[in-house]
Structure formats: structure tokens, C-alpha cells
Amino acid sequence: MPWGEFKDTAAERRLFQRRVLVALVVMLAMLGILVTRLYYLQILNHDNFTTLSEKNRVQVQPMAPPRGLIYDRNDVLLAENRPVFSVTVVPERVPDMDATLDQLQRILDISDEDIERFNRRLDEYRRPFSAVPLSYDLDEAAIARMAVHRYELPGVEVEAELVRYYPYAELTSHALGYVGRINRDELRKLDPTDYAGTNYVGKSGVERFYEDALHGQVGYQHVETNARGRTLRVLEQQNPVPGDDLRLHMDIRLQREAFHLLEGRRGAIVAIEPKTGGVLALASVPGFDANLFVTGIGVEQYRALSESPDKPLFNRALRGQYPPGSTIKPMMAVAGLDSDHTTWERTIWDPGYYQIDGKGRRYRDWKWGGHGWVDLKSAIAESCDTYFYDLGERMGIDVMHEYLDQFGFGKDTSLDISGAQAGLLPSSQWKRAVRNAPWYPGDSVNMSIGQGFMLATPLQLATATAVVANHGTWAQPRMLKDAIGAESTDEVMPKETHQDLNLKREQDWDHVVESMEAVMHGPHGTGRKAGADAAYRIAGKSGTAQVFSLAEGEEYDADEIKERLRDHALFVAFAPADDPKIAVAVIVENGGGGSSTAAPLARKMMDAWLLDMNAGEEPADTDKPIVAGQSEEESRSDG
């Protein structure tokens, strides 16, 4: 201790005593606050809280918001909500769970599988006093039996719940996606408050992509229940905010047409409105009934779907990756022209095959004997492979990669289509990394006609075709047209990111389109049969994709294999050529030649859209409210 300071012990002690006194007073005041608070709660408001707690228990119950509806472009309801009666159990109120389950199994048709699923849910985290579903979709007889036995079964309730229903069943399952029960992983990711009353979540497609908009906001109600837990009355309620209704670009009539065209085959059709990028139809055949998945599909039914050799659960339109074959020749032409590797005037001699440096392996043209002298336009119209072999070799992989990338190959360019695959756009780096081999000129030759490593999905083919139809202007493919509800369409829909494809010579686009018109209308065009007598000009391109090997796990069956080794038939087209209103990509698995199998389907799609459906023009009274007009579906969706 420094000089000049000394401790006045007595003074310090007095100081401390004064401070303790102050602290004591403050402390007593604070204890007074607590006692007052408890007095207020326990004495003054005792009756209120007793009412809440003892005689009639008040519960806060979440109210699930009704899920937003989904309409097609003409306000036809594609996804609605249907009341379904289910049996739920509040475990806290059940005196003897085993006995209760036994009795329920006697009254209702409940499988052991249901019981097992129920027990699994019991073990998961849930809010106290929340109901656990046991069995869904009771019929009237079951509801009546439950009503008779209800008093014997405390804690068991029959509840009406709104459940998603897809009136067009298998027509829309691949395009719209579907909802299903929230599973354990999803439970962890979802907002626990907002999903407190919700049992379903979008699993795929539009339902999944726009989950946030479709879901809405949870409401709640304070309900008075008696000692047995039955709701007596609602004291107070905050209504849920319903999810936004969505209107899609899809036209269910065109979608149905696509399904009919593919009936009995395996394949996919994607139709896009080039100006907007709106997906008019997205069909993957065979399809499946999404309604089966909503409340939980049975094991047998699921096995039938998942083990079918036709793979109905597989979304070919978005996830099927095929060699694009000759359908990419128009894009290759754009690449060759813009990179100055060829001109419209340039001609080559096609003897029916192509040899790198005039020697070595022969790459065969599809036409035995060759096309003779061909220029670029006739090479597209007649699908001359040799011309493109030559062009591809001279461009090399880097140029091809650069341009095809701008057409959207090798990545998912869709704006709001969940689950779309990226396909495969090879590059020399890719081959080095994945195959551990250099890029050979022969690889470029194969690639030039869409064979070899390259893979594309039907959606990508339709997108690239729409880019050609738009002369390079991008409109990324999208499902959503408008959102109707709390949020505006702009808020709900993601922003476009893809750059337009601008060419050095704008008129090259016109020539490419003319060449594709020649495919359909030219004297030697490969699609001239499909294009004959059209009331409008079509620009198209056929393609054939070789099937090299069986998919893994497929069983050996001589007939089956024969059929499944056949080439995939592809066709892309848009129309009218001078003012495109629809771009289509068609693939028929093992369908053989693109021009013979796929092209007629594309033609029928375009006829349907441009002639029968009035080019997709809006109905005259576009301002009418979305709820009007759908009398039949609408009345069923209420409740």
C-alpha cells in the first residue's frame, strides 16, 4: 500500500453496512414485486386460470393453412384439397395404448403396417397433446362405427383433414409433382411453428419448388376441452393465411394430348412457349397416380410401380438423359457459322462416310452411298452426318462446348422446375477428369452428331429448340405463370440468370430456321412426311439415339431386349416458323427412327396447339376471378 494511504477499518465497515442496508431494501422491494405478481396470478386471477386449467383445459391448437390450389393456364384446377376423415390419437389422453390400439383394430380396418407407422411417429418429437394420425380416408361405415364406440376410446378422435387431390391423376404427376407426409428429415428443416399443424409437404415438382408460397401461414385457436380432451368450444382464433394459388403455363388439354400420343410407349414430350419459356406440356409416359402417394402408398402398390420395367416413377422429361443425336445439328450449325468454321456457301462431298485426315476409321453416314455434294442447309434438311463429322472435327471440342453451353446443355437452366437433370456436355477437361483420357478427334466427330458422351434431357432439347425459335433470346423454361395470393408473382418466382446467345451475323438465325423448315417442307427433308399439308410452317429436326447397352439390373428376355436395343426416336420442332408459339421435344424410347416415330407426334402436338386450342390464346374474359368457372371441381374442393 502506497504512502499516504491508510485503511480506516471502522469507516470501511460502516460504509459496507450502509451498502448492505441499501441492497437489503432493494432486494425486499424486488421480492415484493415477485410476491405481488404471484398474488396477482394465484389469488386475484385464480378463477380465470382455474378455468383454463382444471375444469376445462384450454389448449392452443395450430390450424394448418389450406394449401394453395394449382390451376392450368385456363384456370382448370390441377391440384385441389379434399376433406378426408382420419383417426387420430392423442397419446397423453390414452390410459392404455395397447388396449386402445387392439380395440381400434377390431372396429376399423387397420393393418399392422399402420400400427407400426403409428408407433414410429410416437417416438418422434411432437408437441405435447398433439394428435398422431393412425388411419386415413375412413369410409362412411367406418365413421359410423367410430361414432358408436367413441365414448369408450378417450384420446381417439375422428378428424377431418384437407388432403391434396389431383383430379388428373397420372396426367399431372410428373409435371406438378405431389405432396406427401412430412418425414423425419423434412421435419428438421421446416419451420416448427409454421408447420405445427401441417402434415404434408411438397415432395417433387411444382409442389416442392413452390412449397413456401403454397403452404401459407399457420393459424391457431384456443379451444376449451373437457377433462377427457374433447373440444367443447373455440374461445379465440387466429385464422391461418392460406397458401398462394398458382396458375401454371401448362394447358391440361395439351398435356392430355401428349399423354395420348405416347400411350403404350415409353417416352417424353415437352412443349414450351418460346416467348415466355412457359412449359405448356410436360409428359413422361408411363405415368403414375400421384394421389396414391399423398397419404402414404401401400408396400404392394409401391413395389408394383418401382419394379415395373417401364419405370413409371421415372420422370423421363426432366431426368431421362439421352444422346441427343441429330437434333443438335441446328445448334452445331450455329456454332460452326459463328465461329467461322463454315459458311452457308461451303459444300463438301459426302461419299457415305467420313475419315479423319482422309484415312483411318470410317465414320458412317446414315445414308448408304452418301448424299453427294451438300451445303449446310441441305446437311440440316437431310441430316447429313458427314458434313457435321467434318465440321465437328474442325471446330474441336472447345468451340462445340462453348456454343452448346449457351444453348443450355450440360446444366439445369430451368427456372422453377425441381428435379431437372443437367445432362452431360463433355469437354476435354471433363474427359481427362472422368475418363482419364485425352480428347480425341474421333470424340469430336461423334459429338458433332450428338452421339458419344453427350447426354441431354427432353426438357433441355425443348429449351434449346426454343432458343433457336427465339433467335438466341433466352426465356428460361418455367412452370409458373402467375401467383394469386399474399405474394406477387415476382416475389415468388426466381429471377432469370441465363445470358442471351448473340451471333456475329444476326441473319444466320434466319438461315438456320430456313434449314429446319426444309426438314419439314423441303423435297428431301427427313421430316417431310410429318410436315406434309401443314396449315403453318414448321421448323424441325429429327434425331436417332443409339442404345448401346441394357440398363443395369434389367433381366434377360430375348424379345424384350430386342425391343429395348432399338434406337430412341427423337424430334424437336417449333411452329409457326416465322412467329413461334410452341417448341416441342419428343422422345420415344426404342422407337426407332426419329422422323418416322417421333416427328408425327410433334406434328400432332403443334396441330393441337395451333389449330384446335387457338394457339393457347387466353379465353376472352381473362379478368374473371380464378375461382369462378370451375364449378364441379370447385364445389368438391371446399370443406
Binding site: 500500500m1 494511504e5 491508510f6 485503511k7 480506516d8 477499518t9 470501511e12 465497515r13 460504509l15 459496507f16 453496512q17 451498502r19 448492505v20 441492497a23 437489503l24 432486494m27 424486488m30 421480492l31 414485486i33 415477485l34 410476491v35 405478481r37 404471484l38 398474488y39 396470478l41 394465484q42 389469488i43 386471477n45 385464480h46 380465470n48 386460470f49 382455474t50 383454463l52 386449467s53 382444471e54 383445459r57 384450454v58 392452443v60 395450430p62 397423453e92 408437441r127 405435447p128 397433446f129 416448427p192 411453428t193 405445427a196 399457420v218 391457431y220 384456443h222
Partner: protein, 380 residues
Amino acid sequence: MAERDFVRHMQGPSLHNPRGLLNRIHLDPILLVLLLLLLGGGLFVLYSGGDSSMAIVESQVARIGVALVVMFVFAQLDPSVYRRWAPWLYALGLIALAAVLLVGVGAKGAQRWLALPGLPRFQPSEFMKLAVPIMAAWYLSRHYLPPRFSRVAVALAIVFLPMILIVEQPDLGTALLVGLAGLFVVFFAGLSWKLLGAFFGMAGVAAPVMWFFVMREYQKQRVLTLLDPESDPLGAGWNIIQSKTAIGSGGLMGKGWLQGTQSHLDFLPESHTDFIVAVLAEEFGFIGVVALMTLYFLIIARCLYIAVNAQDSFGRLVAGALTMTFFIYVFVNIGMVSGILPIVGVPLPMVSYGGTSIVTLMAAFGVMMSIHTHRRMITA
């Protein structure tokens, strides 16, 4: 010259420790009885709050056993030991806090524990609840009191440094409690009223700063929920609504032990940890809670008596600050459960299920018993 030196010169028969068996083993009988009453009564409530689970009670009894041993050990050490070790304990605590930020483990985005090989997992911030007031008392009691402004500033720095480290974990609740424990030392040391006023003024300014820059979204949410629990009845508001219902429905006499419907029907979350007062209030009524608060008050009164009678300012400051911190625990817990303070996760001292807090608190009582039983009375 410190008064200890003065005492040392006066050894001889004129000085002696107050006699009595408990005193000879350095336990204060009054405080011990009160604590045992509280711990024992707490077990009854815990049995009810923990859904009549003997496992919970048994594990709590084991913790109480450990805590009693810790208290006993802490009581054996002479207060001079605490004073000598103060800077080292404090430095060790700071290092541990820094280590938590670097290599700590934890959950829900917060790092609070240190898992060193060979040691049980522990929370250094819990340790600082003792180390910070002891350090502040060590520093201030080296000089005459009341402290000069510059010494107050240093003392505040001693308090704020660990606070900042704890806020970083983030654990705002514990940081505030550690800070308060230190500030009580400064207050008892004789911080001038002017400075105290200025401090509150600064706190008033700091509050909005904290709100906008320091507090996390979930912490703000708790405050907002307190102001209007109905705004989030399914989320954070749920606890408050259910806990108020449990308390209010208890009435004057309560529903009787094990008869609480709110807690037993699982309406009440965390009924055996932070919200155990609600169980007590529901089953033993207003009388029960007031009895509990009386018991707490008696403990606090005894501790303040110990503080006032401590022989040197170090002992006074440590005992005073630890007592006030204990009170703050009680106040914050009952305040939050009864819905006048935000939910900050402070357990009810000695009653809530859980180990760390009981051990820390009992260690603090051990320190106070040490201060009391190592006095040398001049009787001659």
C-alpha cells in the same frame, strides 16, 4: 499495511475461533440447516415435476452429494487462500474462456463447454461466476475504500473482460450474471452514488445498442414474446402461457403434492428444470411459493450477516457479492416463470434439476462459510 498483518502480530490466547463442532470443521450451522431444508424440499418438488421419476431424484441426490462435498472443501480453505489465488484463478478462467472460443464444444450454435482430455466436460463461464467477484474484491480491497475513480475503472475492466468472452460464446444470460456478480463487488466497495447513477444512465444508452448490435435474433424474440406472449402462442409464448396457467391455477393453497394437472399432463415444458417453480406454485399454491421465497430470504439474510461480520473488506465484498448474485438467480428464475422477465434459461437455485448450477452455488456457500468460520474473535 493490511489488517491481516496486524492480526498476525496478535497471536495468543486472546484470539480464538468460535467453538462448536460444526465451527471446528468450518461449517456454519444456521446456513447449513437452511440449505439442507431448501435442498430437501426441492427434491419433493423435483419428484413431482419430473413425472414421479425416482431416477431423476436419485441423480439429483448424487449431485447434491457432490455439491455438499465441494462446499465442505471450499469451507476448509482459509479466506487468505482465496485472496492469494484470486489473480491466478481469474487468469486461469480467462484462458479457459478463450479456449472455449477456440476449441470449445457445444450445441445450437453456442460453444460453452470445454472438453479437455482427462477432465469432465465443464463450462468455464460457470467457474467465472466465482472467480470474477473474488478477483474484483481482491483488487479493490488492496486499497482503502471507497475506491478512487481510476480503481473503479480498473475493477470494471476486470469484470467486463470475461463478460465479453462469454457473450462471444454466445451466452448472454451467463455473461450478465457474471457481470452482475462483479458489479456487486464494486457497489459494496462503495462506488459513489454519482458514478452509480452515471452507470445506470450508460446502461440506458447501452440497451438500444445491445438490441441492435449484440443481441441475437432469438434473444430479441424472447424479449418480444415476454411483452406479448400471445403473439407466438405455439412457439416461445407457449411456455409462458402454460407456466402462468399452472401458477395461477394453484391458488392460495395449491392442488396438493403430485396433484398438479398442468405439469403432469405435460402442458408445462421443462417442468423439472427451469420451470420447476410453476410446479411448486401449482401444487403448493401461493403459500408454497411464499414459503420458498422466505427460505431463500433467510439464506440471503444469513449470508449478509456473514458479510457484515467478515473481518476484512475482501471477505465482506466477496460474501456480499455472492449473496446478491444468488438473489438475482432466484429473482430472475421466478420472474421469468411468472412472466415478468424474458425466458433466459436461469435455473431455480438448489431446486432445478441439473448439476453445474448446484455445484457452483454450493461452492459459493462454502466460500462464505470459510469467511465466517475462519474469523478470529478477540475475547480477552
